[in-house]
Structure formats: structure tokens, C-alpha cells
Symmetry: C2
Subunit: 364 residues, 2 copies
């Protein structure tokens, strides 16, 4: 069979060291399961900035469009915090989302049974937690125009950003949420601030209309974003699928992940529109950031990156068996008591990045 | 001495029933401590809409400007969820903030020792928690223009809102945060999304410059809003004062309050600029909403409203002794085991709104 084209973008901080463990697993799948990958690795973020002067080269965008899927690490480096917007390491992920039209970011917040005590929340509130947040990622205030900082006549300044959502942008992401819900507990909660923002009011109206037209079998509820932040803390298990805009999704998905107590465990997928060929652009990345404070020490948790690769196998390559194999291996390793520093607890066996990666491979 | 002019605005849902308990306490202070109040009660929100056709009459705004302080209940009623923006019950609080230029919303998130087990978080993470969130409340995306929903040529729609912050708007709210920090643990964390929003970048720059110029004795840190949502769950006690814009403040302050497990206990103050007379407009309200689901049943917790009144005594009337008297009474009542439904736990003594109010008065 033909090799699957993967673009591998480790990025900054702990990105490269956790990605290394995935590459080993991919190679093993080639040998043991005949799953051939044609993997190209490129620099993005601060790493690209340092070498090429930009966080995301057009060549890399072109390669991403060509690839069957993109496996992304993480970007961000405090070293570049004073640089202009278009040059920041973060521009790499924002640019890829926009150029590949990756509009639906799927962020599962799941509690792994052996890690239930790692949560800040009481175990009974999070045991069995399984939320899917669907965040819109190419619209809203992240990309709306006008934007910028202008200097006024008196020398003072004004910073401006614009939140914009159109009917079709809302519909397509809501559709992803409804479809996912049908494969899960069949419930969608749509989140906005329709009591103060017109863009949120339109959001609610469009989701409601789409639901009535095509998804009335799914249970739809609406919630204000501030209330959602509270409800996620009060009783997170009330949610199945949450669908929301770019900015609320940024905060709420990070909040939801933290509820699980194991940010270093959580993968995500970001999907583009289905193309005529049936293919859709997709990028897979862990939810955690580049964690510059622990980078290079060999102590980062590689499991979120490994599980992102499993998501890639499932959603982009339709290799359910291999995806499940990886996930089962991760489960077994956790059950055997191995822990990286971020999920360490008493009586467990603390290991570094490489040993954790090796243990997963061993289990497979 | 002259009577203090208070405008009392109970609003919707549980607002009137919890406000009733405050009025009893105010009357008692008149008799027992010679603290005379000239209290006028007016309708706002859905209650005003039903009678006057608008959520906030200009007469009420004028009275609020005349008053020494405004004591607000809560607004919001699902009955009016389809009405236009300017008529929603919520327009009452938004209108008062804007008309009185109430730009700094002070939201303490404190854990009351007898209620530490009411939190979703593990007790050791929240015992002793004492955060002050200073939220900007007359700027940002809540009020920026252009805004609205427009219909495009093809019949689809576009919802637009604008986030705007100017140097002076940022400076004045940051100043409030720095001043408060000096009376507390002397630390301010400024929160924005400077990695994707220019308004956030300006926010960070202005806060940094003001700090260097006038508040370098205070420890200043910066945090991205998504990370702040996570950190509040991971380790809330790392924070002293948080200062942030209107929209992030809305989510983060609700999140922080929920960490305490006792939303029904938390008061807030919203302050305007100091006027030449030395006076400043101020509005006091509980953090909880109108809770339409339990309204009228006599089971709502009146303590947040009572503690909002204590804040009013302290900040607007400089009556520290009476403020402390109320707070001590609330403490004693909790210590004696009385609980409303929202904070009920095993072995405690469940009471309704009126009994709780009476118990506080009794303690005083
Ligand atoms: C890196 C940053 C620009 C990004 C975002 O804000 O979208 C990140 O926080 C995320 O959630 O993927
Ligand atoms: C009632 C609503 C408009 C208001 C807001 O969003 O500011 C409320 O949530 C608050 O936080 O005071």
C-alpha cells in the first residue's frame, strides 16, 4: 500500500522531545503492522523564527496542504514575547489553522481512571468524566478586522479587535458538534454570551435553526459562557458535547482539560472542511503548550503527543485498530504504575519522557 | 447626622426576597446604632419591563446618581430571552454601569472556613483562599462599536462586536488593582490574550508602564486568559489580586467564585471614578444571579446580599464598625450550623431565607 504522508512539526519547548517518542512508535508500526509513513519534519514557531526569521514558512504551509495529516507539537517561547504579532511563535499554529481552514478543534476532556486523584476536583465529581469541546478556530475575535493599536491625537492609544461570525461559519462547526454527539451521548450544549453580544445572539439563533432543521434527534441546550465556566467546576459530568466560538473555546477547553488533572495526557484534533476527494485537512496536537520551564530536561509527559498520533490514525487514516492499540498500551502503562512528573502520585514509579515512550512501545 | 441616601434595586428572581432581609438589617442599624438611611426602592430588570416597558427608567438612573450608594439585587428572567438587547433585563445592570461610569468591579473570591467542604475542589486547595478579581466593567467588547447583526446579499447573516480599550481606561482600572494589592498581599496578576489580540497587547503594555511609573513596590505578573482559567483550577491560592478586562473578567470571576463552593455567599462592589467632592458612585450586588428556578420559594441564600450591604457600609459610608459587625454575625451564624439549601451539608441545620436573615440580625 502507498505510504501515508505525514508532516511532523515539533515546534518549541518540550515539542521536540515528546515528538521523538511518537516517531519511534510510527516507525514500529511500519515494521510490525506494515503501516508505511512518509514523514517529513519541519521547523515551526520560535524554532523556525530563529533559523528562518519567520514562525511559519509558505513552503511548510504548502507541505501541510499536501500531507494526509499534520502532527503538531507546541509553539511559544517567552524569548519572543516582545516581537510583532505576525512573527510570534504562536503565528505558526494560527497560520496553519487559517491556511488549511481548520475550523473545528475537537478537545476531549477525559479522566483516565488511574489518574482520577490527580484532579483538583473531588474524585466523585470527575470519575468517568468524558466531555468533548468543539471549538471554532478560524473565526471570531482571533481573526476579525479591523484590528490593531492606534495612537490618538493626545498620544494615548486604542487597541481594537473585532469579533465576527457568519451564518455559515456557525453552521459548519455546529454540524461537527451534532455529528459527534450522535456517536456519543447525543447532547450538545451551545455556549455564547447572547445577553451582551450580538455575535453570540446570532450564534444561538443559527445553532437553534440548524438543530430544528437537521438534528432534532440530538438534545440541544444553550448556556452563557460565564455560567459554563462555573458549571464546569460545579458539576462537569452534566456535559456531553460543548460547541462554542474561538475565544470562549480557548478558555473553556483549557479549563475543562485542567479538571481532568492530566493536561499532559490530552490530545486534540483540528479538522477542515471535507473536500471533493473525501479527504479533509487535519492537524493533531496535544492540548498542553510548549512548557519552556521544563523543556530539554527529559521529564515532559509524551502521552498527549502519542495520543494525538492515535487520533490521527483514527480520524485521518481510518486505522481504528492501530489507534486502539496505542490507547490500550497507554492505559496499560498507567495501570502498571509508571508516571511522569506532571502526573506523579505517591507509590507510583516516576519516569522520564524516553522511558515513558519506551514503555508504551513495549506494551504495543 | 444626615441620613444616607440609598437606592435599593431588588430586580428579578430571588432579588426581592434576599433584599428584604437586608432592609430589616438596615432598619435595625437605624434604631440600634443611630445610622440613618433614606432608602428608596425601585423596579429594574424584568420587574421594570413588566410594569414600565423598559428595564431601566431614566428616573432610576437619575436617582442612582443622586444616591450615596446603590444596593442592587439581580436581574435576568428567561421569560424575556427573545427580546431585543436594549430591553433585556440585563440592560439594567449594564446601563447603570455605563451611566454611572462604574468601571471597576471588585469581586472577592473567599472561602468561609465552615464552608470549605462545599467546594468542588479538594479542601487543601481552597482552605484560606482569598482572591480579589478587579474586572473592568464599562469598556471592552460589552460596549464597543460597531456592533449588531447584518443581513448579507445572499440572505445569510453576520454578527459583529468590537473590543476596544484605551490607555486611560486600562490605567484607571489597573490603578484600582494596585491600590487594593497594597492593602492585601501586594501582588497583581494582569490577564489578557496578548498573543492573539492587540487590545490585550495594549492592556499589557499600559499596565506594565503604570507599574514601573507608580507602583513598582507591588509585584506584577502577567498571564494569558486561557492559562489563568487553568491556574484557577490547578492552584487558586497562587493569586492575590487579578486585574482583567470586561469579558475575561466575566468568565474568570464566575469561575473563581465557584471555586469557593458558596456562590450564595459572595458580594461585589462596582466603583466609579472619584469625583471632585471626594464621593464616588458605587453599586453593590451579590455575585449570584436571579436564580429564577428557585425564586419565590423562600429558600434562597440572603448572605451574599447581606454581605454586599456590609461592603457598602465599608466603602461608601466609611462605617467599618458596622460592616465588621455584620460580617462577624454572618460568621457566627455559619459556625452555629445554620445553612440554606445551596450550602447545606450533612449534620447542619437547614433553614430558609427569612430564618437565615433573622439569625444574622439576632447575632448582631
Ligand atoms: C498558542 C495560542 C495562539 C493558542 C490559542 O489561543 O488558540 C492556544 O492557546 C490554543 O488554545 O491552541
Ligand atoms: C447580567 C450580565 C449582563 C452580567 C455580565 O455579563 O456582566 C453578569 O453576568 C455579571 O457578571 O455581572
Amino acid at each position: 500500500s502507498q505510504a501515508h504522508k505525514l508532516l511532523v512539526l515539533p515546534g518549541d519547548g518540550i515539542g521536540p522531545e515528546v515528538m521523538r517518542e511518537v516517531v519511534k512508535i510510527a516507525r514500529w508500526l511500519g515494521e510490525a503492522r506494515g503501516l508505511r509513513f512518509d514523514m517529513t519534519e519541519e521547523l515551526v514557531g520560535g524554532a523556525s523564527l530563529a533559523v528562518h526569521g519567520v514562525p511559519l514558512r509558505p513552503e511548510v504551509v504548502a507541505m501541510a496542504k499536501e500531507a494526509d495529516a499534520v502532527l503538531f507539537g507546541s509553539v511559544g517561547d517567552p524569548k519572543w514575547s516582545e516581537i510583532s504579532f505576525d512573527k510570534r511563535p504562536e503565528a505558526a499554529i494560527l497560520g496553519l489553522r487559517q491556511e488549511l481552514e481548520l475550523f473545528a478543534n475537537l478537545r476531549p476532556a477525559q479522566v483516565f481512571p488511574p489518574l482520577v486523584n490527580a484532579s483538583s476536583l473531588k474524585p466523585e465529581l470527575v470519575a468517568g468524566l468524558d466531555i468533548m469541546i468543539v471549538r471554532e478556530t478560524v473565526g471570531g475575535i482571533y481573526f476579525g478586522e479591523p484590528r490593531g493599536i492606534e495612537t490618538l491625537a493626545d498620544g494615548s492609544q486604542r487597541g481594537i479587535n473585532t469579533e465576527v461570525y457568519t451564518t455559515s461559519e456557525i453552521e459548519r462547526v455546529a454540524r461537527v458538534a451534532f455529528e459527534l454527539a450522535r456517536l456519543r451521548d447525543n447532547r450538545v450544549c451551545s455556549v455564547e454570551k447572547c445577553n451582551v453580544m450580538e455575535s453570540g445572539l446570532l450564534w444561538k439563533q443559527v445553532v437553534t435553526a440548524l438543530h430544528a432543521r437537521e438534528y432534532s434527534d440530538v438534545t440541544l441546550t444553550h448556556m452563557l459562557a460565564d455560567n459554563c465556566a462555573m458549571q464546569l467546576v460545579r458539576n462537569p459530568k452534566q456535559f456531553d458535547v460543548i460547541v462554542t466560538g474561538n475565544l470562549f473555546g480557548d478558555l473553556l477547553s483549557d479549563l475543562a482539560s485542567m479538571l481532568t488533572g492530566s493536561l499532559g495526557m490530552l490530545p486534540s484534533a483540528t479538522l477542515g472542511p471535507a473536500q471533493e476527494s473525501g479527504k479533509r485537512h487535519a492537524l493533531y496536537e496535544p492540548i498542553h503548550g510548549s512548557a519552556p520551564d521544563i523543556a530539554g530536561q527529559g521529564i515532559a509527559n509524551p502521552l498527549a503527543q502519542i495520543l494525538s498520533f492515535a487520533m490521527l490514525l483514527r480520524y485521518s487514516l481510518q486505522r481504528e485498530a492501530e489507534a486502539a492499540l496505542i490507547e490500550q498500551a497507554v492505559s496499560n502503562v498507567l495501570a502498571s504504575g509508571l508516571r511522569t512528573a506532571d502526573i506523579m502520585s505517591e507509590g507510583m514509579n516516576r519516569v522520564g519522557t524516553e522511558a515513558m515512550g519506551a514503555a508504551v512501545l513495549q506494551e504495543m
